[in-house]
């Protein structure tokens, strides 16, 4: 005899537990998480490692690393401590990464959701605007914006967000186009749910996993963009950022390469951690995409 239709299957473990189990399966993603935690710790402990201004003169200029223990990673041509620069730089990089990503994702979600949900002329208009942004190379647009707005850290962050929203917008649009035809959306409309609630409460949670994964890519890209700006001496000179350090280290690249190499390694590891993190998130959030 079959069991009755109304018998329940045993309860599943909570979502977070399932999520962590899936994430844990990817070793590289665990490494990414470890590096990310390390960078966050660096940003948090910067004030303890060096309570003073990281831009002050801390020792004899161009002290090589591991020679003077008051400046373990050496000093640059102006005598600034490289170690505290790297620690304080983590703050700026993370800040820019997080805020610029939030800006980019927010613009992208709103534009993509409207275009994908309503379709028709709304979609046509919004997508033409998106394409107009896409025809201008990212970095050129960023340079223009910074030239207009000035190189204060707030404006740089905003500008990075503004040049990065097109890709998430297109992705959200595609997700919405496939989700809006699903029966559960019809079911919500049939209950009398308003369009705004359908977009943000019904469809968006279902469209989130690929967006979250892509956010990690944008974070990595924004950190690189900021570094590139700083390298061209267009960064905010009032903050120690990794890009600024590389930009200034460029002048002494042959005599004291460590001035540029150490912050460079920091950038490489941080960007790497974000992309490994993204891959792990992808495995954990879209388990069906990958074959076991």
């Amino acid at each position: 005899m079959t069991s009755l239709d109304t018998d329940l299957s045993p309860a599943e473990p909570p979502r977070l537990v399932v999520f962590w189990r899936r994430y844990r399966r990817n070793r590289a993603a665990l490494l990414g998480l470890a590096i990310f935690v390390l960078v966050v710790l660096m940003a948090l402990t910067a004030g303890i490692v060096d309570p003073d201004d990281p831009l002050r003169r801390a020792g004899v200029p161009l002290t090589p690393p591991f020679t003077d223990w008051s400046t373990p990673l050496g000093t640059d041509q102006l005598g600034r401590d490289v170690l505290s620069g790297v620690f304080y730089g983590a703050r700026i990089s993370l800040l820019i990464g997080v805020v610029a990503t939030l800006v980019a994702i927010a613009i992208g979600v709103v534009i993509g959701a409207l275009a994908g949900y309503f379709g028709g002329w709304v979609d046509d208009v919004l997508m033409r605007v998106t394409e107009a942004f896409q025809t201008i190379p990212n970095f050129v647009l960023l340079l223009t914006l910074v030239a207009i707005l000035g190189s204060k850290i707030e404006w740089i962050t905003l500008a990075i967000g503004i040049v990065s929203w097109t890709a998430p917008a297109r992705m959200v649009r595609a997700e919405f186009m496939s989700l809006r035809g699903r029966e559960f959306v019809d079911a919500a409309r049939n209950l009398g749910v308003s369009n705004t609630a359908i977009i943000f409460k019904e469809i968006l949670p279902n469209a989130l996993p690929p967006i979250v994964v892509y956010a990690s890519v944008i974070m990595a890209l924004s950190i690189l963009l900021e570094s590139a700006l700083a390298f061209l001496a267009l960064g905010d000179p009032n903050y120690a950022s990794w890009g600024n350090m590389i930009g200034q280290g460029r002048a002494v690249l042959r005599s004291a390469p460590y001035c540029a190499v150490i912050p460079g390694i920091a950038i490489v590891l941080t960007v790497l951690s974000f992309s490994l993190l993204g891959e792990g998130l992808n495995d954990a959030l879209n388990p069906r995409q990958k074959k076991q």
């Binding site: 005899m1 079959t2 239709d5 109304t6 329940l8 299957s9 309860a11 599943e12 699903r182 029966e183 559960f184 019809d186 079911a187 919500a188 409309r189 049939n190 209950l191 009398g192 749910v193 308003s194 609630a197 019904e202 949670p205 279902n206």
Partner: protein
């Protein structure tokens, strides 16, 4: 037939499932014999292991996750399990052919019908090009495809679903196989097409003298075609015997339960509902789908889905909308709930035209007319808990969220689900349970009318019976009016007081269910009714204590 050796003999077949599956063996101890010229039906509900049996015979199991763990499969006296992969490749197609459920996915959309028939002959025979083409056309003629020469050059998407299945059958039979395995070959087809295909399989099998292993979940189909029946229940064969025996005098409790769940073709007693007030009235509804042409491609022809449809739904009544795919019945359900804007006509409820409402008025009106969808998985938001899904409607219409959630828990009881279900997500439920959640959600707003669009067609037959019973119970207890869209006349006969028969967007006949079933007037209705599989077989009824 005892003097000829059997074509296929399966002895004590065991198929192992990977660790962590719901049971260790998909099939356990299956014994089956197919003689020449015999059609053996393997019947079971989803998950009973019937398709894996076909995979094991063809040696096409997804190894090593799922593999044969024991037993023997003898084909014409040879042990299939001992064959090498190369030998199997010679047997597949040539000696054992397979017909799949979904002909659209089983045919390559990039190649013409002729090319696909040609390929089989090219791989397995030494015929030259002209002979192969002659043979292919001959096969297309034998499966009764109109104009075989033009079908030979057509692409799969250019011919209808029934014709595609005919092409699949032509392909399977072109090498005169000894054994044909048909895995739910008619499930995706309309009833009238289904009957034609069943007749065709029977006819060709008689001509060729081949054995057929016919896998199905539908006892109507079994009654139509089977010589012998084997019933599977969760991997175990519970009953086997001649079709007449099993269908009319089943021995095992599971078989009895399955057969008892098959809706009988006897309409419900006539209720005096036509005197009750009209709650929903549709007049002159029209809907045309304009096909949007691209910039470079020309405009395509517009498709009329519904033309000039008029109906009335009385209080406490169930009105069935019956028709084959493409008849416009689903379009009707979406127009009435205004999920689809309609071109002309009125849908009146309490004297108010739903189609003329402003968006704000419409949102308020929606609580009076609710919908139960076909696919319970797709119609429940996978990221919401059951209690929130059910309470969503009342909350949108201004009920206090705490009260709405408490009501939702009560509704779960009404649809016979445990209150523990409230905090779970939709994917944790079976199909039938999800449909119960869908019904609870529709009831939460205490609507006057429920529109149900094929609510049971995605469910197994025993679950289907339970859900239908629930719907009928609720309708009587809450005095609901139901607009019930279905393609399945058996289901319509169970539940509907009156039915509308639709063909190509038009009503061809309407009236009391009993009258239409007893004396259909329109030729299309007659054709539909005479195509119900197993219409001459009345499922025996069992007293509850017997089952």
């Amino acid at each position: 037939m005892t003097d000829t050796p059997p074509i296929l003999q399966i002895r004590d077949l065991k198929i192992a499932l990977p660790k962590g599956a719901d049971r260790p063996f998909a099939l356990e101890g299956l014994d089956l014999t197919i003689n020449p010229g015999e059609i053996v039906c393997l019947v079971g509900e989803s998950g009973s292991g019937k398709s894996l049996c076909a995979g094991a015979i063809m040696r096409l199991l997804p190894e090593p996750h799922v593999h044969v763990a024991g037993g023997a499969i003898r084909f014409m006296g040879d042990e299939l399990l001992a064959k090498t992969e190369t030998e199997m490749r010679g047997i597949r197609g040539e000696d054992i052919a397979m017909i799949f459920q979904e002909p659209m996915t089983a045919l390559n959309p990039q190649k013409t019908v002729g090319w696909q028939l040609d390929e089989v002959l090219r791989l397995h025979t030494k015929m030259n090009k002209a002979e192969r083409k002659a043979r292919a056309i001959e096969m297309l003629t034998r499966v009764h495809i109109p104009d075989p020469a033009s079908a030979y050059n057509a692409y799969p998407h250019q011919i209808s679903g029934g014709q595609r299945q005919r092409v699949m059958i032509a392909q399977a039979l072109s090498l005169s196989p000894k054994l044909i395995i048909a895995d739910e070959p008619t499930t995706a087809l309309d009833v009238t097409t289904q009957l034609q295909i069943l007749k065709l399989i029977r006819e060709l099998q008689e001509q060729e003298g081949a054995g057929v292993l016919f896998i199905t979940h539908d006892f109507g189909v079994v009654a139509e075609i089977a010589d012998k029946v084997a019933v599977l229940c969760r991997g175990e064969m519970v009953e086997q015997g001649p079709a007449k025996e099993v269908l009319n005098n089943p021995q095992h409790a599971y078989t009895r339960a399955l057969i008892g769940a098959v809706p009988a073709l006897t309409p419900p007693p006539v209720k005096p509902v036509t005197k009750a007030p009209v709650v929903l009235k549709g007049t002159g509804l029209k809907k045309t789908f304009a096909a949007r042409g691209g910039l470079l491609s020309g405009k395509r022809k517009a498709v009329t889905a519904v033309k000039d449809l008029t109906f009335q739904l009385h209080q406490g009544e169930t009105l069935g909308v019956v028709g084959e795919s493409g008849s416009g019945k689903t379009t009707v359900s979406r127009i009435v709930t205004r999920l689809l804007e309609c071109d002309a006509g009125k849908v009146e409820m309490d004297g108010k035209d739903l189609l003329a409402c402003s968006p704000a008025e419409l949102r308020a009106m929606r609580k009076h007319i609710q919908m139960v969808f076909q696919d319970p998985m797709a119609s429940l938001n996978p990221r919401k808990r059951v209690v929130d899904l059910i309470a969503q409607g009342p909350i949108v219409h201004g009920v206090d969220p705490d009260k709405a959630r408490a009501d939702a828990r009560r509704l779960l009881e009404l649809v016979e689900l445990s209150p523990a279900a409230a905090n779970r997500f939709p994917h944790e439920f079976s199909g039938g349970q999800r449909q119960r959640i869908g019904i609870a959600r529709a009831l939460a707003l205490e609507p006057k009318v429920i529109v149900a669009d094929e609510p049971v067609s995605a469910l197994d037959v025993s679950v289907q019976a339970q859900v239908l019973k629930l719907l009928a119970d609720l309708r009587d207890r809450l005095n609901l009016s139901l607009l019930f869209v279905t393609h399945d006349l058996r289901v319509a006969a169970q539940l509907c007081d009156r039915i509308i028969v639709m063909q190509k967007g038009e009503i061809v006949e309407h009236g009391l269910t009993a009258e239409i079933f007893a004396s259909p007037q329109h030729p299309y209705t007659r054709n539909l009714l005479s195509s119900i599989p197993g219409r001459d077989w009345t499922p025996p009824s069992f007293r509850p204590d017997a089952a």
